[in-house]
Subunit: 388 residues, 2 copies
């Protein structure tokens, strides 16, 4: 096991009616002027927006707002948000939505008190020293951003999709996250499936590691993956199933709040390739993952068959072929593909109707990343070929 | 799944050399006068005391101290600690040791700013409003107190062993916990075994629940139990095995920081019976658990065989006897007993040389507790009979 620091600082308030704790949580953080950040208006249709506004007004808070966060949130919109926050002297950010909204809120949170441009943090030209506190009302279980230290935003100038904060990123972990599974009951099947595969990916990325002697975190990862594999198809087929929605919602946070992956190397190559794919072609983050992950696995399992065989046996209950560890490993990859297909997700670029013309550009963006193997452009090109 | 709030506020710094972060952590919390709290001197023998004193002096902190915390810490010693802290105007408590020391430190932390007597909190006559911040250097993985909201102290006036803080107990969750597995390499086998069974008990208490639709937390609990069952015998037989020590140390925190048991009822009856046993007869907390737990299981499995059969199959890989769920369940209880025996722990009062004369008094102390079944005195007497 490697040394680690775990700082699980987000308070999660979970369950039916959890939003009734909203104003007490904002008060706990000393917030008075709330910057409400949200997406393309689904919270207005669902009535959640009105509910929150009423709670905030009744609580005596001043509300400033910026909606319009798009999937794959962009830095120009973040910069606008920073200006609005500064002008209004907002002292807390309330993000209502899924990962895009929360990630955007996080970038705004570090951008407001910083005199330079917020993208400096993404390029490691500066390290944030302080941030506005962030609260979340989650409506899409997927990114795990509600309790994580990560924020991914696209810079339209070159279509780079990057972590906005590379260092000192505990600053952007939300202070509280309100998770009411009822808010997810009307999520359409495609968004639901995208969330499920994102959650699973977060755990797979922690699991595929060359660090040895990580028995507990291995088993914790297996637990979360097995639960997602069990409940994912249920929420896809029975959108109104509260119990399964609750499992997936909680899994989304547990998958990415870091606890289950402590003491081991993580490998985010597939996520990174997927991120760049979705930034370049505007396909959903979930789709980019179901395309990139099996391809990455097919490229890697020959180098490290044991890691992938363990995954096959322990997570997908594949019968271990002791005569050929590679066969066992490959059966696990096929099981992942079947799982994705069951959620009606594409498992190739062709299926997702992505043109196959920019492999070189994409490979350039993903050069020299990875943990179980540091990949270079050549590797990325091979992985992309396996993704066609 | 039931509604819940999870507030994982302890920062865990884990691994070799983790203690080098001590002074920066104290500074982060604004501490200047450190109240050092420890046990019966093992940290002086091991050299940890000198190391910590040097770190604190070099860091420019004022140090006040109180050692002498005994296993099953007592309220009179806590009251003394409160006086020392007040007189010295200590602003942070650093507990170095295992669960007893940390629990004692927590009681002091809420006692210092309170004008009444600290036992008021145990009797729910008052609710703590504030507390001194607590930091921990853990030397015995067992109680999970280093990241938990719980503090159990014995009141010698009647030998009551109770949670000191019943409400608002997030106040006493340590702000940071330094976990260096190297500090546990010299733990003797008996203390090691007591720790292992305590950790396992914390998970079992969360697992044995009648709450349904808790798939993820079921699987997380199973993961931790399986890892403890795998690594417990290793640390018992190979005290110097760093890797296994690391697994057990991290498992101790994960078992009791609440995350794995969210959204479900917990049943702490065996722990409570064990606690009262250890308070009355001064047997080790671990011994009290290995006596009380199988007895409680033997009493309960006939009422709720499915819960215990699930445990047998999922945690101990017992072959499921579909013709008799009770047989499967019972095989799980025998497996727990075998596990305890493998760690050389007693599984009956007779083995532990506990006199069988005070069952009535003990039953009185454990009346009307429990979750999967609210037990009364009559039940406790039956359980104690099964423990002889």
């Amino acid at each position: 096991m490697e040394n680690f620091t775990f700082d699980g600082a987000s308070r999660v308030i979970f369950g039916k009616g959890a939003e009734k704790n909203l104003t007490s949580e904002i008060k706990r953080l000393g917030g008075k002027k709330v910057f409400l950040h949200y997406g393309m208006g689904s919270i207005k249709k669902s009535g959640l927006y009105d509910k929150v506004i009423k709670l905030l007004k009744d609580g005596g808070f001043e509300v400033i707002e910026q909606g319009g966060v798009k999937p794959n949130p962009v830095i120009s919109h973040v910069r606008e948000g920073i200006k609005i926050c500064r002008n209004a002297k907002a002292d807390i950010i309330l993000a209502i939505g899924g990962g895009s909204v929360i990630d955007s809120a996080k970038a705004i949170a570090v951008g407001v008190p910083y005199s330079g441009d917020v993208w400096d943090f993404a390029e490691s030209k500066a390290v944030p020293q302080t941030a506005l506190p962030i609260g979340v009302i989650l409506t899409i279980p997927a990114a795990g951003s509600e309790t994580s230290r990560y924020s991914v935003v696209t810079n339209e100038d070159g279509m780079w999709k990057r972590d906005v904060v590379n260092e000192n990123n505990d600053l952007i972990r939300p202070k509280f996250a309100i998770l009411n599974p009822e808010f997810t009951l009307n999520l359409p099947p495609f968004e639901t499936a995208c969330g499920v595969v994102d959650i699973l990916a977060h755990v797979m990325e922690r699991y595929f590691s060359r660090t040895t002697n990580v028995d507990l975190s291995d088993k914790l990862c297996e637990a979360v993956m097995k639960s997602v594999i069990k409940n994912g198809p249920v929420v896809f087929k029975e959108p109104g199933n509260y119990d399964a929605r609750a499992e997936i919602m909680w899994a989304g946070s547990v998958a990415h709040n870091d606890l289950i992956g402590m003491g081991r190397g993580w490998d985010f190559v597939s996520h990174r390739v997927g991120m760049e794919l979705s930034a370049m072609y505007d396909i959903a983050h979930g789709e980019s993952l179901t395309i990139a992950f099996p391809a990455w696995m097919k490229y890697m399992y020959k180098l490290y068959p044991v890691i992938f065989a363990k995954f096959a046996v322990k997570v997908f209950n594949i019968d271990n072929d002791f005569d050929s560890i590679e066969k066992t490993a490959f059966a696990g990859i096929k099981a992942v593909e079947s799982f994705y297909k069951g959620l009606n997700m594409p498992i190739s670029l062709t299926e997702a109707k992505v043109p196959l013309d920019k492999f070189e550009v994409l490979a350039e963006k993903c050069d020299k990343i990875g943990n179980i193997k540091k990949i270079d452009k050549k590797d990325v090109l091979e992985i992309l070929k396996l993704a066609t």
